[in-house]
């Protein structure tokens, strides 16, 4: 290992609180070395906290800023940043919260975090190309079942046994945090329109259909999933509604792909 690598490893370990002692001989000693190192340590913690606070404003409002700051510190120690681009930081907060003992009294919190992460991803996602409806129509009917459509990059699905969308809505800026009505389980579509990301409740049929497409299933497989729930007769309607809302991409998986 190079001297430089050794020094950087020692430096980062000191910032993470894993032993200032080893770094000390590398630094020009002054009476303020600890305070100076704290500028770097505090900067790292602040960058991570602020990124989480930007991405998870509803989680932060639900638990309060002090709880959130403590949680962010513990998340940072167990999930240090792995990128120079902080926009990917915090992707595992929902799983972290599932095992976070101090959040045990808030069983919906991990799903709220999942919903906020979905919103964050949709906000920054590429536009992607919409479903080529004309190309779809040109595919012989007998082959259509084998097609795979996908979702646009700015579309996500979220589901929870808890009314997380009602909580999300009630904790938007200008709202007092009290949900209008406490619905039960929720299926949620997160999508972007005119640069604004909005989560909205969707029915079981649309959920089953979009989930199948998101998982790379063929149209035939999507119909089969709908049939299991007695919803297969809505297939055509779902396809048209989702296509006209611009949610779908593709198609892929047919021999005419790429032809004019």
């Amino acid at each position: 290992m190079s001297e430089l690598a050794r020094l950087q490893r020692t430096f980062l370990a000191a910032l993470r609180g894993e032993g200032d002692g080893e770094l000390a001989p590398h630094l020009i000693a002054g009476s303020h070395v600890q305070a100076c190192l704290c500028v770097y340590r505090d900067g790292m913690g602040a960058a991570w906290h602020d990124e989480l606070a930007d991405t998870y404003p509803v989680v932060r409002r639900l638990v309060g800023p002090d709880f959130f700051r403590e949680m962010a510190g513990r998340y940072g120690r167990s999930h240090p940043s792995t990128s120079g681009d902080l926009h990917g930081y915090g992707d595992r907060l929902a799983e972290f919260l599932e095992g976070y003992p101090f959040a045990r009294g808030l069983p919906y919190l991990p799903d709220v975090a999942r919903l906020e992460w979905a919103c964050h991803e949709c906000f920054h996602a590429a536009d992607g190309r919409a479903l080529d409806v004309a190309a779809l129509a040109r595919v012989p009917q007998a082959s259509q079942g084998g097609l795979r459509l996908g979702l646009r990059p700015w579309v996500r699905l979220a589901a929870s046994p808890h009314p997380v969308l009602a909580l999300w809505e009630a904790n938007q800026p200008g709202r007092d945090g009290a949900p209008d009505e406490l619905r039960g389980a929720e299926r949620i579509l997160v999508a972007r329109a005119d640069f604004v990301v909005r989560p909205s409740p969707i029915g079981e049929g649309q959920w089953v259909f979009l989930e199948a497409l998101a998982q790379g299933q063929t149209l035939q497989q999507a119909v089969t999933r709908l049939r299991r729930r007695g919803l297969h007769e809505t297939f055509g309607e779902l396809l048209m509604a989702c296509a006209s809302a611009g949610l779908l991409a593709g198609p892929t998986g047919f021999s005419g792909e790429g032809e004019r």
Binding site: F11, L15, Y40, G84, A125, P153, V196
Partner: protein, 286 residues
């Protein structure tokens, strides 16, 4: 993307473009020579951030200023990060692409801060190689910025100013000279800031940064949360006298003020740039 001049005039002043000012600046289109953004804020594939950037790009030259490439890290360069930067460069045809002369990651773990390099031959060789690799990948020269620092390494063998000028000379990169950081380091580490300026090759200085700092009990912190201090304005005048006018950008990243306050800082830089330009013009020429 635009038919604007790609590069700001040498006596042009600009500001760091931050989200709270997007609407106000687009409505007013103040006479700024350029804008600068943090590259990583536009690494997403689409959506509103890139739409804003493209609207501003139609009105101003834009400089991409990276905070996360970790040029001085002993790790391998992150190919995904470099790829996203290259994509953004293609997309917005920036006037400058800059990164910091520092490191922020090791073993794949990032501190997401600007950590100091030891000024050694080993670090010099390493960072020169990395800058060359980045310039090759991007197909253009980049600028590297001197950073503020709060500790010094016992085995640093080269003065910071020699390290910076050697990096520029050997890598063929430009220098983004942060005059505020020179002042902060001069106070923190007890050197003469003018000596630093004297050591830098004028031809390598492509851009100047100014930003606010704050005092701690033991020294100064480069916080970008305040107006440029009087001592820094004085040092900036010395820099312009030494290098001639250079496109100058004012950064303000925390406790972001009303647009007029930031534009006032840019106007202060502009008036000094105009004086420096006049002083640099021989008598009788326009």
């Amino acid at each position: 993307m635009a038919s604007l001049p790609r590069v700001p005039a040498a006596d042009g002043a600009g500001v760091g473009l931050r989200a709270p000012h997007y609407r106000a600046l687009l409505e007013r289109l103040p006479p700024l020579a350029f804008l600068e953004v943090h590259s990583e804020n536009f690494f997403g594939g689409g959506g509103q951030p890139l739409a804003w950037l493209e609207r501003f790009r139609r009105e101003y030259p834009v400089s991409l200023h990276g905070v996360g490439l970790s040029l001085g890290s002993a790790d391998a360069l992150d190919p995904g990060h470099l790829e996203r930067l290259a994509g953004l460069v293609r997309r917005c045809d920036p006037c400058f692409v800059s990164e910091h002369l520092c490191w922020s990651s090791v073993d794949g773990h990032h501190a997401n801060g600007l950590l100091p390099l030891p000024f050694t031959d080993e670090a010099l060789d390493h960072v020169v190689g990395r800058i060359s690799a980045v310039q090759e990948r991007l197909g253009r020269q980049i600028l590297v910025e001197n950073v503020a620092s709060y500790v010094r390494f016992a085995h640093s063998a080269i003065p910071e100013w020699e390290f910076v000028s050697e990096v520029a000379r050997r890598a063929g990169c430009g220098v983004l000279l942060d005059v505020s950081n020179i002042h902060v380091n001069a106070v923190n580490h007890g050197f003469d800031a003018l000596r630093y300026l004297d050591a830098i090759d004028a031809a390598s200085v492509s851009e100047i940064h100014l930003g606010g700092h704050e005092a701690a009990g033991w020294g100064l912190i480069d916080s970008h949360a305040a107006a440029v201090a009087p001592d820094v304005w004085t040092l900036y005048e010395a820099a312009l006298a030494r290098f001639g006018p250079r496109p100058t950008l004012v950064e303000w990243d925390a406790g972001i003020p009303e647009p007029d306050v930031l534009l006032g800082e840019a106007a202060q830089a502009k008036s000094r740039l105009a004086r420096a330009a006049a002083a640099a013009t021989p008598m009788g020429e326009p």
